[in-house]
């Protein structure tokens, strides 16, 4: 037991000291928060940027339609901070429209000037068409916003013409209508649907990545001990089983440390950067629930957190010990990748089903995969993030996974014990089977 700690300590200290660990610890939170924040940023930007109002409205009608459009655009985004530009409304005679358009085009072409111009004429008033030309003509969100503003303006003018009171029209046109979404499952009302989705995917990616990366590190460590021939000295001082256990435990502790740092740093980045992003861009009008990002971390309850940690540890022990055995079988990096292939395929195979789990967290595939020891460490915590899973099945799946680990460690120890001192050609499958039987 004493030597187990010596091995685990070396494994932990040497890995945490390495440049690789420091880089990954900082890089991954940047990526995670990036994947959360970029959609927020894009959504926020495309929602209603103040720039969309920086346009010229050429109004060739005599009904004051242009002024109304401008007003609606201002109302639409008026809760944004900063001095937003107002659309410049130019009322022109239909005969002068062509030359006005030519002037507007020149203005748009000047850098840092207006973005584009909107042409409103009698056909617009008739509800037929409205033209827009500008730098942002390819932005669907911005042109959609213009179109709905025009639609609203036409509607107001028409209603006015029909004799509806202007005050009523004003009132009706300003319904804010937000739509927060709440998921309901068998336990009742849960967090928002989007939050669960983010949480599920976040947990899955995190677990898969850390199991894969730290498992590969164990493989590389075993291979290094073998190729550098330090293995023989080490094994003359400590039993191979203890060495394997110490290595897996040490590397697992590194993985755990890194995950906790990842979660802490990502949470910090997201909670601190998201408001900044949302402040510099106008808030969105309700299509996307921006609080989903913040809430996805809120959904990480202490119970779920503990389960995630447990699954990480079990999944790591399962994969790392098998990868260590793969490393002990061979003598070169190339052979190692080949020997590790069956193990890596289990992990990648699991990942291939993630989509169907996301789409149907309680379907047959998802349920089956959350019971198999090689996939449950990733799928079960994901399902728990996505929705509700009964505690009975979580505990059951953890137990099955623990049994799987016992088997994997037993198998790995047998291969490892023989493989560590075996040099020369790569063993065949039949030879490895013999090691397992006779070790």
């Amino acid at each position: 037991m004493d030597k187990f700690w010596v091995v685990a300590k070396r494994e932990y200290v040497e890995r945490v000291r390495s440049r690789w660990f420091i880089i990954m610890t900082l890089l991954i939170p940047a990526l995670i928060s990036g994947t959360f924040l970029v959609p927020v940023y894009v959504a926020a930007r495309s929602a209603a940027s103040p720039a969309a109002r920086n346009i010229i409205i050429l109004d060739a009608t005599s009904a004051g339609l242009g002024a109304r459009v401008s007003e609606i655009l201002m109302v639409d985004t008026s809760h944004a901070s900063g001095a937003a530009p107002r659309p410049q409304v130019r009322v022109v005679q239909p005969t002068e429209l062509a030359s006005a358009e030519a002037d507007a085009t020149k203005e748009v072409m000047r850098p840092k000037s207006v973005l584009g111009y909107l042409v409103i004429d009698d056909s617009t008033l008739a509800g037929a068409r409205v033209r827009y030309a500008g730098r942002n003509a390819s932005s669907l969100a911005e042109t959609d916003r213009l179109r709905s503003a025009v639609r609203q303006a036409v509607m107001m003018v028409r209603l006015e013409q029909e004799g509806v009171r202007p005050a009523t029209i004003e009132q009706v046109s300003k319904l804010p209508l937000r739509m927060p979404r709440v998921r309901i499952d068998e336990r009742g009302r849960g967090a928002s649907g989007q939050a669960g989705f983010f949480l599920g995917i976040g947990i899955g990616v995190l677990l898969l990545m850390s199991i894969m990366m730290h498992g590969q590190q164990v493989l590389r460590g075993v291979l290094e001990e073998k190729t550098s021939r330090v293995a023989e000295v080490v094994i003359s001082s400590v039993k191979p089983d203890t060495l394997l256990a110490g290595k897996v435990a040490g590397a697992g502790a590194v993985g755990l440390t890194q995950q906790l740092l990842w979660i802490a740093v990502s949470a910090w980045l997201i909670t601190n950067l998201a408001p900044l992003i949302l402040k510099t861009t106008p808030a969105m009008t309700g299509d996307m629930d921006t609080s989903a990002v913040g809430m996805s971390f809120g959904g990480l309850t202490p119970a779920l957190f503990i389960v995630v940690i447990l699954y990480f540890l079990l999944g790591f022990v399962f994969y790392a010990s098998l990868l260590a055995a793969a490393g002990a079988m061979v003598n070169s990096e190339q052979d190692a990748q080949q020997a590790a292939m069956p193990v890596v395929m289990l992990l990648i195979g699991t990942w291939l089903f993630v989509n169907s789990v996301l789409l149907n967290p309680n379907g047959g595939i998802a349920t089956t995969l959350s019971w198999l020891p090689f996939s449950s460490p990733i799928i079960m915590p994901m399902r728990m993030g996505l929705g509700s899973v009964s505690w009975v099945s979580v505990v059951g799946s953890l137990a099955v996974c623990a049994l799987g680990c016992v088997f994997a460690v037993w198998l790995a120890a047998r291969i490892y014990r023989v493989g560590m001192l075996m040099y020369g050609k790569k063993p065949t499958m039949a030879e490895v089977a013999r090691w397992i039987r006779y070790a």
């Binding site: 021939r229 080490v234 094994i235 003359s236 001082s237 040099y423």
Partner: protein, 335 residues
């Protein structure tokens, strides 16, 4: 009685899929001795050493260290091991590697102090440069070998096992190793090393065991082993002029020295001889007279620098007892 033995191996057998690595080996190494395990490549030396260290288990038989079964926990902490294939964690700092390996041997106190002492003693820590803080792969091969010695001896083991310690050593490190072995003996430690270089064994060992094809051929103190044949060989040295004239190969030399060559090739007089160019170790034919050989050599015009009756060297005994067929070919070299 048995507690006077550092190593007590009894009837040990180790079979592999294709061959028997060690068959029915029994040998005892007394405490405080320097013991040589001699044998050709593939004889089973490394397998034996690995079984002593409980790295692999024998199929049958027993191995005791200091009178206790070698599987007993903690017992191997009293052993220092230098494997034939040497290596350290390349990316680790020298001091940290040594610290780790000492901890693995159960050492808990004074580790850093001892590391410093050893680094200074082997010249790895001087006023200009402290290699202890460098990474292992920044060290030259010779320096890495020194670090490996330190790792073997840092925990002050009672029994030191060296597998082919001289292979790959430059003369300076080889001398340092010999000095260290003798110092260990003076301090009452037991040293066992395997080698196929008989000269080293003859000079350093108190006792030896010759094994071939996994079997013990003979063992005992070096004096006893050399006396065991009950006969004397002739050690013959010729003057430098005999082989002058640019001839370096022994074939060419023999042509110039037809006379001496004919004498030595006379099967009635000489059974076999070991030709080291200017030095010969000659085993007389049964019943032949060494004085007769001396006379014949003088008649042949040989310039004799030395003609001495000696006990056969370990090398001669090894060749004689193991023979050419004792060397199994095509084996891994880890026998």
């Amino acid at each position: 009685m048995s507690h006077d033995l550092a190593i007590d191996i009894r009837n040990v057998v180790k079979r592999y899929e294709q061959h028997v690595a060690v068959r029915d080996l029994t040998l005892q190494v007394p405490r405080g001795s320097v013991y040589g395990l001699l044998g050709p490549n593939g004889a089973g030396k490394t397998t034996t050493i690995r079984m002593i260290l409980d790295i692999i288990a024998p199929d049958t038989g027993s191995i005791a260290l200091f009178g206790r079964p070698n599987r007993e926990p903690g017992l191997l902490d009293r052993v220092g091991y230098l494997p034939e294939e040497r290596g350290l964690y390349k990316k680790m700092q020298v001091r940290r590697v040594l610290h780790f390996l000492a901890e693995l041997k159960g050492m808990r106190v004074d580790i850093d102090k001892r590391i410093t002492e050893w680094l200074e003693r082997l010249g790895l820590r001087t006023a200009e440069r402290d290699w202890g803080t460098a990474k292992v792969d920044e060290l030259s091969r010779g320096m890495q070998q020194k670090v490996q010695f330190i790792a073997t001896l840092l925990h002050d083991p009672e029994l030191v096992i060296l597998d082919e310690p001289f292979s790959g050593l430059d003369p300076i490190n080889a001398q340092a190793l010999k000095d260290t072995v003798l110092e260990l003996k003076r301090r009452g430690k037991t040293v066992i090393f395997s080698t196929h270089v008989m000269e080293n064994a003859e000079k350093m060992c108190d006792a030896v065991c010759i094994i071939a094809r996994g079997e013990k051929v003979l063992d005992g103190s070096v004096t006893d082993v050399r006396a065991s044949s009950g006969r004397r060989n002739v050690a013959l040295s010729l003057g430098a002029g005999e082989r002058a004239g640019g001839a370096t190969g022994s074939e060419a030399g023999r042509e110039r020295l037809n006379g001496v060559g004919d004498v030595l090739s006379d099967r009635r007089l000489v059974r076999r001889f070991d030709d080291s160019n200017r030095f010969f170790e000659i085993e007389m034919a049964p019943g032949a007279d060494s004085q007769e050989l001396l006379r014949r050599l003088i008649d042949a015009g040989a310039q004799i620098e030395r003609f001495e009756l000696v006990q056969p060297s370990l090398h001669q005994i090894f060749i004689e007892r193991v023979g050419a067929q004792g060397v199994e070919t095509g084996m891994s070299g880890h026998g």
